[in-house]
């Protein structure tokens, strides 16, 4: 009888699931779900390197002493394909099947927050970079999730501060093109217009578009009609690349072009070649910064991968180190103890001082970087600059 067959099959299956998965009792397992493919793959590769390098370093030193025994750390990385629901389910399986004692975060608010929600509910500490503070705080009051990154307020005010610091002359007209994801919505929808108004600028056009938009014809046409000298864009790399190309083919050539998020990774400059020249992007790290190990990290990355460094190697490296230090400080594989240890972090890492406030955030200051001859050069503030600002940008201002 079919029902009997079904019953026995189900019973068999259930009994298999009743046994706990075999966890190795002599290694420390941490997990991370990051975008190794999909639109944010450009960030994922740096994150992976940053996380893995931190783990490699600590294992070279013998591992972490836990319960009196020195144990190696094993990092399990899953690809979440830039899909928040995959981040969530990856986090679930890493916790349930792999039995990770703590997690490292993904990249960009949508993904990080999806994973962090799962970790929070399962009471698993999660340390992340690549997640702006306001977007992080807007989700909920966190207990187990911790972020090390910049604040959107700093990011939004940076271009305006730079323009006033250097006395750049423009027609004071601004066009805003941002995606309607969590951070694009805040930066493009609220903060940029606020800062513009405060600085006496006139926002002639604002568009918030879906994150996966392919055609930008209409908003470019309208931005062009507004005749803005300053164009501020917030979009992920594929969209930023497409937008830059379509701007060029539509003849929209501003004096100052900022492309947040999208213009960060090397793939932006590689995909656009000459068109990337002069594009500005908010940055928070450069090998030249006076932080412990900064220059060495960049050199190591270049020699190990043969690629140009990106700031994302630094924040992810720091996040991983913070977690590993917390595990060492806790001295045992107890999630609560590790979480308490993370809260007490107060040390200088490769991104600067990391100390968490009551909202579980640790702020990194912002700089402005500009793509020049295929390299990202820090152009503001003056005391951090490694190059001179190109203004107006090539081909801009007509």
């Amino acid at each position: 009888m079919f029902k009997q067959f079904k019953l026995s099959a189900v019973a068999l299956g259930l009994s298999a699931l009743a046994s706990a998965p075999a966890w190795s009792a002599d290694e420390i397992i941490i997990g991370a779900s990051i975008p190794l493919s999909g639109p944010l793959a450009g960030f994922g590769i740096y994150e992976k390197w940053g996380y893995e390098t931190a783990v490699k370093d600590i294992n070279k030193a013998g591992g972490i002493t836990v319960d009196g025994k020195k144990m190696p750390v094993r990092l399990v990385i899953r690809d979440d394909k830039t899909d928040p629901s995959v981040t969530a389910s990856n986090t679930e399986t890493l916790i349930a099947r792999e039995g990770v004692v703590a997690m490292l975060g993904s990249c960009t608010p949508a993904l990080v927050n999806a994973g962090a929600l799962v970790a929070e509910r399962r009471k698993v500490p999660l340390v992340t970079a690549c997640n702006p503070l306001m977007a992080f705080k807007a989700v909920r009051k966190w207990k187990y999730a911790w972020t090390i990154f910049f604040d959107e307020e700093d990011l939004a005010s940076a271009p305006f501060k730079m323009m006033s610091d250097y006395g750049l002359s423009t027609n004071k007209k601004v066009a805003v093109l941002a995606d309607n994801g969590p951070d694009g919505f805040v930066v493009g929808g609220r903060l940029w217009p606020q800062n513009a108004k405060a600085g006496g600028y006139d926002v002639v056009h604002t568009t918030l578009f879906p994150v996966d938009t392919q055609q930008f014809t209409s908003m470019i046409t309208q931005a062009k009609a507004g005749n803005a000298d300053v164009v501020l864009v917030d979009a992920i790399p594929p969209q930023a690349i497409a937008l830059r190309k379509q701007m060029a083919s539509a003849g929209l050539a501003p004096k100052l072009l900022v492309m947040e998020k999208g213009a960060e990774p090397e793939m932006f400059s590689q995909a656009l070649g000459k068109l990337a020249e002069g594009v500005l992007v908010g940055g928070y790290w450069d090998p030249s910064f006076p932080y412990p190990g900064a220059a060495d990290l960049a050199k190591r990355f270049a020699s190990e991968t043969g690629q140009t460094q990106s700031q994302h190697i630094a924040d992810s490296h720091a996040a991983a180190q913070v977690l590993l230090d917390a595990i060492a400080a806790a001295g045992k594989l107890d999630r609560e103890a590790i979480n308490t240890a993370v809260a007490k972090t107060n040390k200088s890492y490769v991104v600067g001082l990391v100390k968490f406030d009551a909202d579980n955030t640790s702020r990194i200051p912002i700089t402005m970087m500009q793509w020049q001859s295929g390299k990202a050069v820090v152009v503001w503030p003056k005391d951090r600059a490694t190059g001179k600002l190109m203004f107006p940008m090539p081909g801009g201002g007509n």
Partner: protein, 327 residues
């Protein structure tokens, strides 16, 4: 319009007398559910994960099987009802004292309302136009949700309350499946199934003999969408956040479709067997999700060509042949 199988399948229930035949679902199913519910505390964390996924998938598959397998209405719009249920629950649950069950029911109701709204337009389309129409509808709804900021736009919404523990979630899923099983068993064991089959096989002829095809199709559509919406609500409760790409995305439609066709569409056991098979496959190939999906597609094609009644149909055929051989 006929489904992939042009003839109604003959259930391979063997020698029991007709009245016993009709009674055994009512006897064994409740026992089965009680046994399953009792065994939940025995499961490990990992087991609970798998159990929840499996139960939810079977619920969705039962609903789709009713609509497409028994009713011949091959819909590619599962995601829209799923998403509506998910968003509804997320919007409604704002306080820990709010009833989860009511929120789930609300999710089902909202999904049903959408089904009602589009039914008049969508049922004018026959066969493949119906299928493409539902696909377009699902995609249009997803795009609308991406753009409409009132419901969070691309960022979506976060659940204001903390979801219950894993064990409770599995019991909720089991409860939902029990409800779905009840609904589908009623639909398939009563006269309704005959009416549905008549409409599926030849709508115009059914009309001629006095059956109202629109009403029959609508009932099936409403039942299926309600169950799908409730499942979506439960998933939203589990994940704690909804957003258009994951919640209204086509991956749910693909999963359900694969489960039912591979399991055996139009057959009572098809959804369960198909779901177990696919969840097992996805766990085996957990490290290679793209490979798993590609393999699912290949199996789908193979099943359509070689075993149109799916795994259950295959087993039925083998058993029937064996019985025929021993006679």
């Amino acid at each position: 319009m006929s489904a992939i199988v042009s003839r109604a399948p003959v259930p391979a229930v063997p020698t029991a007398s007709p009245s016993a035949q009709r009674l055994w679902p009512w006897a064994t199913l409740p026992v089965l559910f009680i046994v399953l519910a009792a065994s939940v505390p025995l499961l490990s964390d990992y087991g609970l994960e798998i159990a929840f996924r499996l139960l939810l998938l079977i619920t969705l598959a039962e609903a789709w099987n009713l609509l497409a397998g028994y009713g011949g209405l091959v819909s590619l719009g599962t995601a829209s009802f799923f998403g509506l249920g998910a968003y509804t629950l997320t919007k409604l649950l704002s306080d820990p004292s709010d009833s989860i069950i009511l929120a789930m029911l609300a999710g089902g109701v909202v999904a049903a309302l959408m089904a009602l709204l589009v039914s008049r337009a969508v049922f004018r389309l026959r066969g493949l136009y119906f299928t493409v129409g539902t696909l377009a509808l699902a995609e249009a709804l997803r795009l609308f949700m991406v753009n409409y900021r009132g419901l969070g736009g691309a960022s979506g919404l976060f659940l204001a309350v903390d979801p219950p523990a894993q064990r409770e979630m599995v019991w909720l899923a089991l409860g939902l499946l029990a409800f779905a099983t009840l609904v589908v068993t009623l639909a398939t064991a009563t006269r309704f199934s005959i009416l549905l089959r008549a409409v599926r096989d030849d709508e115009d002829a059914a009309n001629q003999i006095g059956i109202r095809p629109f009403r029959i199709k609508l009932i099936a559509f409403l039942l299926a969408s309600t169950l799908t919406g409730m499942a979506g609500a439960l998933q939203a409760l589990k994940v704690g956040t909804v957003e258009p790409y994951g919640t209204f995305g086509i991956q749910w439609t693909v999963a359900v479709l694969s489960v039912v066709i591979i399991g055996g569409q139009g057959l009572r056991l098809g959804p369960a067997v198909g779901a177990v098979f696919l969840v097992a496959l996805s766990e085996l190939l957990a490290e290679y999700p793209a490979l798993q999906l590609a393999l699912t597609g290949a199996i789908l094609i193979g099943v359509i060509r070689l075993a149109p009644l799916g795994l259950v149909g295959l087993v039925q055929r083998l058993l029937a042949r064996k019985k025929g051989g021993t006679r």
